[in-house]
């Protein structure tokens, strides 16, 4: 068991928390075009089924290997894909932050994403864990790596917006 915060100052922890709050905000409040801004240029973003993650199988549900690939995802969501309108709500909890020996922080947190579709009750769309690497870029923090490992064995039809 590492010491509480493992060398992370309260100010740094608050900055990490703020990054997660901003992350949820851009996805849930219609600012999807700003989502890539929360990542560094050579960031990696993966959504991975728990079974693949646990068994070491390399397949992801979404695999973006650069910020440019995140922009492509956004482009598809806003201009190319067909889907029924929906509202998502990301709830992030149980955040743990540790300082990395090279730079930045390892951060892990639980997430729950609720989905609301027309004519239906709101449902739990996905539940899982973020396994992230966060670094300073200028005077703000950004994701260098974000892996969303989802517990739900089935995706409720389509995953349109990022987790």
């Amino acid at each position: 068991m590492s010491a509480v915060g493992a060398g992370v100052s309260p100010t740094e922890r608050l900055a990490v928390e703020d990054l997660y709050a901003r992350y949820a905000e851009v996805l849930d409040e219609g600012e999807i075009e700003r989502w890539p801004e929360l990542f560094i240029e050579d960031a990696e973003y993966l959504i991975v089924a728990r079974e693949n993650h646990q068994r070491g199988l390399p397949l992801a549900l979404v695999r973006c290997e650069s910020r440019a690939a995140l922009v492509d995802r956004v482009q598809a969501i806003t201009r190319l894909s067909f889907y029924a309108p929906r509202v998502l709500r990301h709830v992030v909890s149980g955040l743990r932050v540790r300082r990395r020996t090279d730079r930045g922080f390892d951060a892990q947190a639980n997430y729950a994403v609720f989905q609301t579709l027309a004519d239906e009750e709101t449902t739990v769309f996905s539940v899982g864990r973020y396994l992230d690497v966060i670094v300073a870029e200028g005077d703000t923090l950004a994701f260098a790596r974000k892996v969303c490992v989802y517990d739900n064995p089935l995706v409720t039809n389509s995953l349109v917006y990022p987790l």
Binding site: L61, R63, R79, P153, N157
Partner: protein, 416 residues
């Protein structure tokens, strides 16, 4: 399926329109009696259902838990190395004894009364068989040999495993027919498969909507703006639709083109000439199969779609979940001789497919909306007249011939 214990099954109060397969009565997507008959005649019938890849269970004791229709089954390699498929249902009280998606066991033990089965499904031990202190126990003539797990027939071709509840199922190659075998072998013959991973989704639609979707190439050139925009699939590219002799199986073949405007794209409201990929590594396909086709989607009755789009390969297995829903299990694979770059290419192109796929999102969403429409109007009738009324092969994609062929066969099997 053993002895019939009921006299009559629910009657289906439905008359197929006189026009035949150019019409589809919407009741077949929501009627519980239709669904019940489908389970009995199609999924438990004399047909080969896909149950897994041999590479998912390479060693004795390795297993995969899966379904045929909505019936739970287990695919397991026995101690002699033979692949077996049996019901996931204890012969005693019907308990679903296998709960993990996959794994390794040395024997099966039902949690309820600890009946023990060998990897081939044979019952090998029953606790308290001789009673306890002279009390109870099974009958003296209780025969372990006749109380094993209900076994299915198993057939394997080039590492792809199928199973059937019926002993009357013809040999797999005859069942598929020469055209389907040729396209199947194009992807699997002489190759050792490696498992890349799974994607799984629940689609709130009837299972037949999935087959219709893949048997209808013309929707892809309209609905899938991503494919059209980046030249992966367009109505003016060389294409074909081919069926087996019965119409139950089909392939759609097409050839990639360029991202460009034409008379055709002028007809598409949503074509985007200005769009480009910011990370073009997503679409960096290399040719690896015989022939000019860059996409071949094969639909095999009753539960499989074999997907080859550029370098992304997957088995899409349908699991029915009542008339209003089905699960789609995507098993992505590559070949044992893929180098690192090829494996990464397959993993990147997987972004096109699955529940979050640049292409497949559109399909899942349209099927859900389709179900909303057809289930609300069971008395209404759908239209399948694109490309005329024919049910045979076509050398273009502007046709619904493969859906008509599917329904010709479906009507025979279902007596509708």
């Amino acid at each position: 399926m053993g002895e019939q214990i009921w006299a009559d099954r629910p009657a289906i109060d439905l008359h197929w329109p006189a026009e035949g397969t150019t019409r589809v009565p919407y009741a077949i997507y929501s009627d519980p009696a239709v669904y019940t008959r489908e389970q009995e005649r199609i999924f438990a019938g004399p047909y080969w259902s896909y149950v897994g890849l041999a590479c998912e269970a390479p060693e004795p004791g390795d297993f995969v838990r899966t379904f045929i229709g909505d019936r739970p089954v287990v695919l397991c390699r026995d101690r002699h190395g033979e692949l077996r498929c049996y019901v996931n249902r204890c012969a005693h009280r019907g308990v679903q004894f296998c709960r993990q998606d996959s794994g390794h066991v040395t024997e099966w033990v039902c949690p309820y009364h600890q009946w023990v089965y060998d990897l081939d499904g044979t019952l090998v031990a029953v606790p308290f068989r001789r009673g306890v202190k002279g009390n109870g126990g099974m009958l003296k003539d209780f025969d372990l040999g006749v109380h094993g797990l209900q076994r299915l027939q198993v057939a394997e071709r080039h590492g792809v495993v199928f199973a059937s509840f019926s002993p009357e199922t013809p040999p797999l190659e005859d069942y598929l027919g020469p055209t389907m075998v040729a396209y199947f072998d194009r992807v699997f013959a002489g190759r050792t498969l490696t498992l890349l991973g799974y994607q799984r989704q629940r689609v709130p639609g009837n299972w037949k909507l999935m087959f219709e979707n893949i048997k209808d190439p013309y929707h892809a050139s309209l609905l899938h703006v991503f494919l059209v925009t980046f030249g992966l699939f367009r109505a003016d590219q060389p294409s074909s639709v081919k069926m087996d002799a019965t119409g139950r199986h089909a392939v759609l073949c097409s050839q990639r083109g360029e991202q460009k405007t034409s008379d055709l794209t002028a007809e598409l409201r949503s074509f985007h000439e200005d769009l480009r990929l910011h990370d073009p590594r997503l679409l960096d396909p290399v040719k690896e199969f015989e022939g000019p086709e860059t996409v071949v989607m094969q639909t095999l009755w009753p539960n499989l779609i074999v997907q080859q789009q550029s370098n992304t390969l997957a088995m899409r297995q349908l699991v029915t979940r009542g008339p209003d829903a089905f699960d789609l299990h995507w098993t992505f694979f590559g070949y044992a001789d893929d180098d690192e770059a090829m494996q990464l290419r397959r993993l990147r192109q997987a972004n096109l497919m699955g529940p979050a796929g640049y292409v497949s999102i559109d399909d899942g969403e349209v099927m859900a909306l389709g179900q909303n429409g057809v289930a609300a109007y069971p008395e209404a009738i759908g239209l399948l007249e694109m490309g005329g009324t024919g049910e045979g092969d076509e050398n273009h994609m502007v046709t619904e011939a493969a859906i008509r062929a599917f329904y010709r066969y479906y009507r025979e099997v279902m007596e509708l």
